[in-house]
């Protein structure tokens, strides 16, 4: 109840025009642009800040919870966008982030009475994508309480614990996930990573090797394995004088080979690698390459929207959907050729298209010539029925 009351406050705050909040530091030779919006939920204050600093050459969205920075996401802007359209672009990204924050809080209230563990898990993943770890933990725990064998929820909870630095709890969570589903390469990789964080490299290597048996093209695992061997090696000698360094080098090469993204800097770094320092640099390049490819946040957004399609369809606004379509199309346009993103995009198109049926119906109702409007209205009704049936059949 308290959450709902606070939720209303959130809406009032979000009605403020972002343009009014633009801060321009005119004293500087280059103009820094930032927009901020504060929201309240369950005794917590959340500040969304979207900013562009030309001196740093980057745009980003940051979320602060109770004054503490929780997440920071870079916004990819082309040179032209950064030059000409920065204010408009920032407004769009800012609006999308704020509207997402509003909607997850609203969904939070709506989910209380549900017995659907998957739904809590999906909401938790959005919180995790925003690095709101307490909220994510709460949702994953609820998911587990409603579906005790839900391996995905244990895995996600483990990721939260890892980010909170609770390594032992993370290990326990991954163990529970693997108990429920032992053949999932992701869980084994995360389990291994938790050991890696605890500097228990032999145990980590064991888990990574198991993961590769299930998925021999798992880029992250090769990278993690390489890191384990690199850290075990001495930093003094050349690569080929030490078996650990040779193993690390081979795993890094393999990671690049199975990875989707080609980067000439990495190809060059592989050719020139001679010693421990070169290998460390290669690891850093591969790691940043992998992070750029990461689509976790967007995938969690796809899952979240499919959740809303199921439980919150009537409250979904056209703008929310078109913003969601904008993000998905942009990721796919940037080369994110992931099948699950495309499936998410397809569902979004099908949902969005229902607004168009509504608009068509409104126009036919206004048409005075009944010889055309009545048959067309009857056909639109059939389209609406067909569309509803299809969306229900597709499901979240």
């Amino acid at each position: 109840m308290d959450g709902e009351r606070r939720g209303n406050t959130v809406l009032q705050v979000s009605e403020t025009q972002p343009e009014d909040l633009f801060l321009k530091n005119k004293e500087k030779t280059e103009e820094r642009v930032s927009v901020q919006e504060r929201k309240f939920f369950r005794d917590n204050s959340y500040l969304v800040e979207t900013r562009h600093d030309p001196r740093e050459g980057k745009a980003e969205i940051r979320i602060f919870k109770n004054g503490k920075l929780t997440s920071s996401k870079n916004i990819k802007l082309s040179e032209q966008e950064a030059r000409e359209e920065i204010k408009r672009k920032l407004e769009v990204y800012h609006r999308v982030e704020c509207s997402l924050l509003d909607s997850v809080f609203k969904m939070y209230g709506k989910m209380e009475g549900l017995k659907d563990g998957t739904a809590h898990h999906r909401l938790g993943e959005v919180f995790l994508g925003m690095e709101l770890l307490d909220e994510a933990e709460e949702q994953f725990l609820k998911a587990i309480s409603k579906a005790p064998d839900f391996s995905l929820a244990y895995n996600s909870l483990g990721l939260v614990y890892l980010r909170l630095g609770k390594k032992d709890e993370a290990i326990k969570s991954f163990e529970k996930a693997l108990k429920a589903n032992p053949l999932y390469a992701d869980y084994l990789n995360n389990y291994g990573f938790a050991f890696m964080e605890k500097k228990m490299y032999s145990q980590a290597v064991q888990q990574f090797e198991k993961a590769l048996q299930i998925n021999p093209r798992y880029e992250d695992v090769y990278l993690n394995l390489g890191f384990c061997y690199l850290i075990k090696s001495s930093s003094a000698d050349e690569i080929f004088s030490d078996s650990n360094k040779i193993l690390a080098f081979n795993y890094f090469k393999k990671a690049y080979k199975v990875g989707l993204k080609r980067d000439p800097r990495i190809g060059k770094a592989i050719q020139k690698a001679r010693d421990w320092e070169d290998l460390s640099r290669l690891y850093m390049l591969l790691k940043s390459n992998l992070e750029e490819e990461d689509s976790f946040t967007l995938k969690s957004l796809c899952d979240y929207f499919s959740l809303r399609f199921k439980y919150d369809a009537d409250a979904l606004s056209e703008r929310e959907l078109s913003d969601y379509l904008f993000l998905l199309n942009q990721k796919i346009g940037d080369g994110g050729n992931y099948p699950d993103l495309r499936a998410g995009l397809a569902s979004a198109y099908l949902f969005y298209s229902r607004f168009l049926l509504r608009l068509a119906r409104e126009r036919f109702l206004r048409e005075k010539d009944e010889s055309v409007s009545l048959p067309n209205l009857s056909i639109v009704e059939k389209f609406e029925q067909e569309s509803d049936d299809m969306v229900n059949a597709i499901g979240p």
């Binding site: 495309r342 397809a346 569902s347 198109y349 168009l356 036919f364 206004r366 055309v372 389209f383 067909e386």
Partner: protein
């Protein structure tokens, strides 16, 4: 318009124009008119009227097309026979008035337009046509030094009534024509009003962009460009703001939204197809694709029943 699209619509027209709904013949007429193929446009209107002689909206259109095809006599014949069948339809007598006006028979035009106003008062476009016919008549009389009665008051009166419509209020030629008339410049006022007449005709029928879009959609549901639909919707909405004389505009806007809906539907199918192509084991995407494809088949059958 792209050559490919033109030839696609032409092929469709050859195959279907005899059997299709009259509204599609009317759209084909606009399509051919836009290509300046006035005789083909006239034939399509002839077909449309033969299939649906009760639709008064079609008459205004055939008159203008007949004028461009220099076949006004045929149009007038059609109008006379229809007028006998539907004496109560104000649109037929107005179209007859327009045909006579375009032939330069202003006195006859005035009679028909007055009759149309008796059948339906407060039709701004009819008031304009009547004002314009009277203006032409006054100008002729001046040239023939036939003093007659002073027509200025009646012309001003008709144009004043026409001016109630937002379209005329915002038209600079109409406003200038009225001012010239007040100053007694009949011939120059007539020139201005002739420009307005051409735009009035455009206001009364669907834009060429809609006819092309609708016909492309009928000929090939999947080959629609979203930008084209967006532009047509914007054009139709602008027309809506201008006036009330385009009777099926809401139906056409509704159809545009349906065309956009189909386009998104195709995109959803494409995305699912690409997801399955990229990952053949992606069972959920495969199942969803099957659901969407099966739904698409049922929807395609219904699309054929839409009234354009």
């Amino acid at each position: 318009m792209q050559k490919e699209k033109i030839s696609q619509i032409r092929v469709w027209s050859e195959k279907n124009s005899r059997t299709c709904d009259s509204s599609l013949n009317s759209l084909l007429a606009t399509f051919f008119e836009n290509l300046r193929k006035f005789h083909e446009a006239f034939s399509q209107m002839d077909l449309a009227l033969a299939k649906n002689p009760q639709n008064g909206n079609l008459y205004q259109k055939i008159v203008w097309i007949a004028y461009q095809a220099k076949r006004l006599d045929e149009a007038e014949e059609l109008l006379q026979s229809s007028s006998a069948r539907h004496p109560e339809d104000y649109r037929i007598s107005r179209a007859a008035g327009l045909a006579q006006l375009l032939k330069g028979e202003n006195a006859l035009a005035v009679k028909n337009l007055q009759k149309s106003l008796e059948l339906k008062k407060d039709e701004e476009v009819t008031h304009f046509l009547l004002g314009y016919s009277l203006l032409g008549l006054a100008e002729k009389n001046m040239r023939n030094t036939d003093s007659g009665s002073d027509p200025l008051g009646s012309i001003q009166d008709e144009l004043q009534k026409a001016g109630e419509m937002p379209f005329f209020k915002e038209d600079s030629d109409f406003q200038e024509g009225k001012e010239l008339l007040n100053k007694g410049g009949f011939p120059r006022s007539l020139d201005k009003m002739e420009l307005v007449l051409r735009r009035v005709r455009e206001l009364q029928v669907e834009p060429a962009s809609f006819s092309c879009l609708a016909l492309s959609f009928v000929a090939d549901e999947d080959g629609i460009d979203q930008n084209e639909v967006d532009c047509t919707i914007a054009e139709l909405k602008k027309k809506c703001e201008q006036g009330k004389e385009y009777p099926e505009i809401n139906n056409h806007l509704g159809l545009c939204f349906l065309i956009l809906w189909r386009s998104l539907f195709s995109q959803a199918q494409n995305q699912l197809g690409l997801a399955v192509k990229k990952d053949a084991k992606f069972q959920k995407a495969r199942t969803n694709l099957e659901i969407v494809q099966s739904s698409d088949r049922r929807i395609s059958a219904l699309v054929k029943e839409l009234k354009f």
